[in-house]
């Protein structure tokens, strides 16, 4: 028995991004990542068959999970701004998994969906999030396109597109027009949901 470690916070992560081991980004991309992944594949004897999209072999499933945990523990995460590696202990990784949410609410009112874990063989339907998924969307067509998604009854929530202009201006990242663009997207998706009679729908 031992004390459970405190959960990692985003503030801890930032501190580690400033104090972790130094490394060149190219050494991470072309060295650490492929070498560690390859070594773990060998360590666990993992072999996938691409004619089988979803594994039925329980041993393969277990090996992939353990290799993934090992990958995160052995490598950590590289911070491109500080050029340092953020490391976690295995306990911190396992505690984060244990303490992760086991449900949440998507949307409000009669359009609210309580999302809970579902297994691969569950008859429970997954949440259907309909929309352009970040694809470029013209300012003129933004509202009707998103209203069309909201009108599909099988669609539970909306994932919106990216407005290409706002008031005819390019919403360049880092400019004031970016703020206007993002705000316009959110307001127009809400309007689209309202027009479809689904004002509580999640976004």
């Amino acid at each position: 028995m031992k004390a459970i470690s405190k959960g990692v916070t985003v503030y801890d992560v930032y501190d580690r991004a400033k104090s972790g081991p130094k490394m060149e980004e190219k050494d991470w991309d072309f060295g650490v990542i492929p070498k560690t992944a390859r070594a773990l594949k060998k360590k666990y004897g993992i072999k996938m068959d691409k004619s089988v999209m979803i594994p039925e072999d329980e041993e393969l499933i277990d090996k992939l999970f353990q290799a993934g945990i090992d990958m995160l523990e052995e490598c950590g995460v590289y911070c491109i701004d500080t050029g340092r590696v953020i490391k976690y202990t295995r306990d911190e990784i396992l505690n984060a998994i244990k303490n992760a949410p086991d449900h949440f609410q998507f949307g409000e009112g009669k359009e609210a969906h309580t999302v809970v874990p579902r297994s691969y063989d569950s008859p429970v339907y997954p949440i259907i999030q309909g929309g352009p998924t970040g694809s470029p969307c013209s300012e003129e067509m933004f509202l009707p396109i998103h209203q069309a998604y909201a009108e599909e009854r099988i669609v539970d929530t909306i994932v919106d597109g990216v407005m290409q202009t706002v008031m005819g201006k390019d919403p360049v990242p880092g400019s004031p027009w970016e703020i206007m663009g993002v705000r316009s997207e959110a307001l127009q998706v809400r309007e689209a949901q309202c027009r479809a009679g689904r004002s509580g729908m999640g976004l």
Binding site: A17, D81, P132
Partner: protein, 240 residues
Amino acid sequence: MRPSDAHEVSQLNELKINVGALMVGAHYAEAGVQVMVEQMPIFGGYAGGLEETTIVDVATTINSFVMLQATWHLDGPVHVRWGITTAREALAVAGHAARAIDKHTHLMLGNQYYTLAGPCTLMCLLETAAQAITDTASGREILSGVAAGKGVVTDLFTAMEARFMGECAHAVAGMDLHEVNVLLDKLVAMYEKDYKTAPTGKRFQDCYDVKTLQPSEEYVQIYNDAIQVMTGLGLHYWDD
């Protein structure tokens, strides 16, 4: 935005982050909102092949919950050559990663859709179906799409693809896994030979009435053709 909306922040390829994302994460943590962390591992990229990319996908998914206290993770394994999530290899990475995490944790997972073909084409709908079936039968909670035509052309997407994504997911929920795999192998084989000649398809305004928001007769016919294909593969969701 409401607290019950998905507040997005992204990791970088592979197992990388920037300080800006940590600032966004801090804001979400303080606001107490629903957090969706996104990342799309690249098959054939830094990690390498099928097994290596799947291992990285598992690690990346778990990192969302360690680093940014995600409510749920939005995946999207993408094929380096085609830039799509519906290629056989991308589906295998997604299906294996989800099943591995599904078996060992209660983490909630989504996947995003990037097809090669554009709207108003049979190929686009079959690609969508393959991923919806893979995601549903590997234990994912949220299906997010569809960015048709690789999600790079303005207005080249419609609600019909999302409808098909939803209907195919509903059609296979609870189905025997081996039957699903047999079906998927046949389904992917129907479109993967056509990558080099994939149809561009039509923009929303070219296959919908933009006032009534109804799809064109042409698209409805193509949709019905896609249903016929799926019925022929053994799904009976659309039977009267």
